[in-house]
């Protein structure tokens, strides 16, 4: 409670300072809009539903692409950790592609899928899959061999060992990879949405870009705030439970 209050006062102070800077004309309101006009934009965008529609379009793209990326990345990581052939082929490919910002895939994705949801999802998947694959691979390699030996003497074999020993033992690595994958996916999607117009729906990136076209900085700042809030919520909803679990069980420090 004390910590929540502290955070609340910090942000209240930040908004006040922002307001004061614009009010005293230190910042030109055309260059940096005051908090009140950002608030008015957000109110209006909620009322005419443009904001929710854009949020829905973006979150749907992100979630779908992200979960497909994780669903592909974890098994790929298990494969590359296990097979030398996969390590020398898919592993090297993954390492290379992970360094490529996935927004670079946009031109090809548009060519392959057109200005559609599939193109956006492809970009998100490419942002997620490799960092998940690499961290899963890394996690499996860091499992102390004694765990598998101990499990074997207790009668664990094959798929059971993978599911109940190797996978949970690599969980600290997998969680951090999945989180990094999330960050990559979120950034790629925003970049892609600002960069191209997708005909099947206007997401938050597009909304921000319209703001730029109309010189409406209140819209730009308003959408930026929404993007920040979604990022924070995703962190709390998707990753905090896992991190709490890791902290409780492993005794690792809280992230």
């Amino acid at each position: 409670m004390k910590r929540a209050l502290r955070a609340f006062f910090f942000f209240a102070l930040l908004v006040l300072a922002w307001h004061a800077m614009v009010r005293t004309r230190v910042w030109n309101p055309l260059v940096f809009p005051p908090p009140l006009s950002v608030w008015q934009y957000l109110q209006g965008a909620v009322e005419d539903r443009t904001l929710f529609e854009a949020m829905w379009v973006t979150v749907k793209r992100l979630m779908l692409g992200y979960f497909i990326g994780v669903a592909l990345g974890v098994p790929l990581g298990l494969l590359t950790s296990r097979s030398r052939v996969a390590e020398d082929t898919i592993g090297v490919l993954g390492l290379g592609l992970q360094t490529l910002p996935s927004v670079c895939w946009v031109p090809l994705a548009l060519l392959w899928f057109g200005q559609t949801e599939s193109a956006m999802q492809f970009v998100v998947i490419m942002g997620t899959v490799w960092s998940v694959q690499i961290s899963t691979d890394n996690g499996v390699r860091n499992v102390p061999p004694i765990f598998a030996r101990a499990a074997k003497t207790m009668g664990s074999r094959g798929a059971h060992t993978w599911l109940y020993v190797i996978l949970p033992a690599s969980l600290p690595f997998i969680v951090s990879g999945v989180k990094q994958g999330w960050a990559f996916a979120w950034r790629s999607l925003m970049a892609a949405e600002i960069y191209v117009t997708i005909l099947t729906g206007a997401g938050l990136g597009q909304l921000l870009n319209y703001g730029r076209d109309q010189q409406a900085m209140d819209q730009v700042v308003g959408v930026m705030l929404v993007i920040v809030v979604i990022g924070l919520l995703a962190d709390k909803i998707l990753f905090s439970p896992w991190e709490r679990f890791l902290h409780r069980r492993w005794g690792t420090t809280k992230a």
Binding site: F147, A150, R249, W250, G251
Partner: protein
């Protein structure tokens, strides 16, 4: 299957190790870990294998467990050659090797879940029985990282005992613990051995520990690993590691250990 059956006594295993040799090759280095080792372990006997590092005692233990296999020779448990690991032979390792993603209870249940014929409630009952035996029933919901080293090894003991194996194989299980905790665990182990009557093969490089726990102490020499001498320890149980009569046995074994090391031409460690 009822819990009473599960907790009932099982017939301990008789082990026969015949002409076992094992060589490891890692790059250009060849280690002759074991050379023509012959050893019998009776039903319910507590045998300690001692020797300096490199004498292959842990390798022999892993072979009895079915985690490694001899190049030559056979290991026979109750007339059947060991071809894989099995629930009748449980291993307790030096580091606790407990699973950090599971609670204390979850760890003890791990092996029981792999044992067919038990209902979930019965498994919990069995696990609770063993946690009580090692004095940790209050900690069943604790996480592994919250326990001290000694408590972790007690959980590991409960985990190895829970599937009711017929042999317990222990690989320097107390080596990483402080002396006080170790002494306490000698007591715990002797009590659970008396109540649960199993064949135990215990690997250690601590001669006193071997003399305290074993009915018999088997002395190995290194490079290559061979059985050198055997000592029968006929002291009443439970034994205290600090008793003078035990010290006598330990001195005798230590003297033999040194003698063999000298004949092998290896510097004292």
């Amino acid at each position: 299957m009822a819990v009473a059956d599960e907790l009932g006594p099982v017939k301990p295993v008789k082990l026969a190790i015949r002409g076992v040799s094992k060589t490891f090759r890692e790059g250009v280095v060849t280690t002759h870990a074991l050379d023509d080792v012959n050893l019998d372990v009776d039903e319910g006997e507590f045998v300690c294998l001692v020797g300096p590092s490199g004498c292959g005692k842990s390798t022999l233990l892993a072979m009895i467990a079915g985690l490694e296999f001899p190049d030559k020779g056979t290991i026979v448990a109750d007339g059947k050659p060991v071809i894989s690991s099995g629930r009748d032979r449980m291993v307790m390792f030096q580091e606790a090797a407990l699973f950090p993603w599971l609670s204390v209870m979850g760890n003890v249940l791990f092996g029981l879940k792999l044992k067919p014929g038990l209902k979930p409630k019965e498994r919990v009952e069995v696990a609770t029985f063993y946690l009580k035996l090692v004095g940790l029933e209050r900690y069943m919901h604790s996480n592994i990282h919250e326990l001290s080293g000694g408590m972790r090894q007690r959980v590991a003991l409960a985990r190895s005992l829970a599937p009711n194996p017929r042999v317990l194989l222990m690989d320097e299980p107390f080596a990483a613990l402080d002396a006080m905790t170790r002494e306490q665990l000698y007591g715990d182990l002797q009590t659970s051995w008396e109540t649960r009557k199993k064949t135990i093969v215990f690997v250690t490089h601590n001669v006193r520990e071997a003399a305290c726990l074993g009915d018999r102490v088997v002395l190995f020499s290194p490079h290559p690993g061979r059985v050198r001498e055997q000592f029968r320890i006929d002291l009443p149980r439970p034994r205290d590691i600090n008793s003078p009569s035990l010290a006598g046995h330990a001195t005798e074994i230590t003297r033999a250990l040194k003698a063999h090391r000298d004949t092998n031409g290896h510097a004292a460690e």
